[in-house]
Amino acid sequence: MDEIEALRELQRGSEEALSWFIGRYAAYAAAIIRNILLPSLSESDVEEALADVFVSLWRSAARVPAENVRAYISAIARNRALGALRAHRAELPLEEALIEVPCPTPEQALTEREASERALAAVEAMPEPDRDIFLRRYYYYQSVADIALALGMNVNTVKTRLRRGRERLRDELMKEDE
């Protein structure tokens, strides 16, 4: 069974197709969830969130985009993990994740899709380790202390690089259309 066929069968309510997707994407989704939940929560929480991902896939099969199932699953995994993390009330929400971008007129405001595309482009253009730090913080919601420990940096260095990343992102969002 290939992925397109599996998705079609999943949308028809095939549990065999669901099993196919579990086999295909369990490790991928687990990696995303672990990056978010550990070490704050437990492996048991990871397992619970991971199961929720595929239950959610089952329930929302009709909405899964055939052109990019992996993206859909990564989004579910991240949000399931985030739900568990929020319930734990760690340091969420990330107050410094809100950035203000001046906008001359409402008509010139970026659409959500445009803003998202520019943000992803800005992140792709970041040099390492800034890119890694930025994704660890704002995609995986890792604490500054955990990032510093993982990368062998001190906390202030991580904070400085995050601030640099936010400034780059703001610059990218402020660019006028060419």
Binding site: A27, L41, E47, L50, N79, I99, S116, E117, Y139
Partner: protein
């Protein structure tokens, strides 16, 4: 225009990585199959909710409790004679406590080794209201650095709920001759299932977007609907709760149709749900006492919204709101075992690695010196100790540090393995990492 960076990155697609811990596929399939079967029988899936603290896979020793009448014992004597945790031989009495709203938090014993501090902390209800029991948890536990801990073990004889915490400083910093401060916030107990019905709420207003204190959640204490928005067939709901109220909620919204059918909520699948500019950013309200959570309900019929009732299932806990701050000072500690060695494993050589062994952990650190090794080489490194009492296995820590900037030849690596119980340094004869044996005696 305000943007939430975390939302902007929601369309990021991480690359697939074949390394890392495996998944228990059998257990995963069983969990999913159970939920799918429950769906098909119409039963709502009940989530197993556990109140746990920060957990690391390789942390605390098992705590064994007996039924001794320990109430008369002081904290440290109780810990040593009743509980006997794995690290009791390497901690010193602290016995410093703080009591808020009749709940006492006591730092019973602690010790620091290098960048790690181990602390035994107990909770006890001095007001005799039974608020501290096996189902009690602490909403937030923090320190300035990293923190890992168990979920607490309750001793009925003493009425104490005991935690073992290990606090970790940032790389390069040490607790030696210093101190650590633990911040505990809000004690939760008496977990219950909830099911509130927001019958008076006009869901049709979601079509044009609405936010504010739209409707109180009937029967709740300080919870209200803070935002509604509709995008296609996706209803977004924001629920606020007053974090100063004596009740804590974990909501799971769903819609109840006129025929009794339900539409469950899903965590926001942002890849297919656009950012909704009508809703306020998720998070804390000004003042910091109101928490706002956002949920998405899929598959709603826009023309039928006024026929649905918004319901809030989930769990609640009674809460003792307060802050317990425990400050622990350290004196001097026994010297660790230190060595410098070339560590090899499977053909990979880590030159001039600095090895440090304490009763709590084993460290290995060094420079990459221009040599680029794979992350898997570090993560797969096994380590154990040869001691007078036999072989002592060590568990790899969850976050090895590896050089990430391949343009920088001076990248550091920093690996830790944790001990399940106190390591008697005098009894250690050799440290074995990968294929390398380092004699210590």
């Amino acid at each position: 225009m305000t943007y939430d960076i975390c939302e902007l990155l929601s369309a990021y697609e991480p690359p697939e990585n074949t390394s890392g811990p495996g998944v228990d596929m059998a257990r995963l399939r069983e969990s999913v199959a159970r939920a799918v079967a429950a769906d098909s029988t119409g039963a709502r899936r009940r989530r197993k909710l556990r109140r746990t603290l920060l957990i690391a896979a390789a942390c605390a020793a098992a705590l064994s409790l007996t039924a001794l009448a320990a109430a008369a014992l002081g904290g440290f004597d109780w810990l040593r004679e009743t509980v006997k945790p794995g690290f009791i031989d390497v901690v010193e009495p602290v016995e410093r406590s703080v009591t808020v709203e009749g709940i006492e938090a006591e730092a019973i014993a602690a010790q620091q080794y290098g960048d790690r501090a181990i602390c035994y902390v107990s909770l006890r209800d001095t007001a005799g209201q039974g608020r501290v029991n096996a189902g009690t948890s602490i909403r937030v536990v923090r320190t300035s650095g990293g923190l890992r801990g168990d979920s607490g073990v309750f001793d009925e004889g003493s009425g104490r709920l005991l935690y073992e915490f290990q606090a970790t400083q940032a790389y390069g910093e040490s607790y030696e001759n210093g101190d650590v401060t633990l911040y505990l916030a809000d004690i939760l107990y008496n977990e219950r299932e909830i099911d509130f019905r927001c019958g008076g709420l006009n869901l049709a207003s979601a079509a044009r977007g609405a936010f504010g204190r739209l409707a109180d959640v009937p029967g709740s204490d300080g919870a209200y609907i803070a935002g509604l928005s509709l995008e296609g067939d996706v209803l977004s709901v924001q629920v606020a709760q007053d974090m100063s109220a004596p009740v804590e909620y974990r909501f799971r919204p769903y819609l109840l149709g006129p025929g009794g059918e339900t539409i469950e909520s899903d965590s926001s699948v942002s890849a297919v749900t656009p950012l909704d500019r009508f809703l306020r950013p998720r998070g804390w309200d000004e003042g910091g006492t109101i928490a706002i959570m956002q949920y998405s309900i899929y598959g709603v019929e826009p023309d039928m919204l006024d026929e649905y009732t918004l319901c809030l299932g989930g769990m609640s806990w009674q809460a003792v709101r307060g802050d317990w701050v425990l400050h622990i000072d350290f004196g001097s500690t026994p010297e660790p075992i230190e060595a410098v060695a070339d560590v090899s494993s499977g053909g990979v050589v880590f030159e001039d690695s600095q090895i440090t062994l304490t009763p709590l952990y084993l460290h290995m650190e060094g420079y990459s010196a221009g040599y680029r090794f794979d992350k898997n080489d570090i993560m797969a490194l096994p380590a154990y100790l040869e001691t007078d009492g036999g072989r002592v296995e060590l568990e790899p820590d969850s976050a090895p540090v590896i050089p990430m900037d391949y343009e920088d030849p001076d990248g550091n690596y920093f690996v830790t393995w944790n001990a399940a119980a106190a390591v008697g340094l005098d009894a250690v004869r050799a440290i074995v990492i990968g294929d390398t044996r380092i004699e210590t005696a």
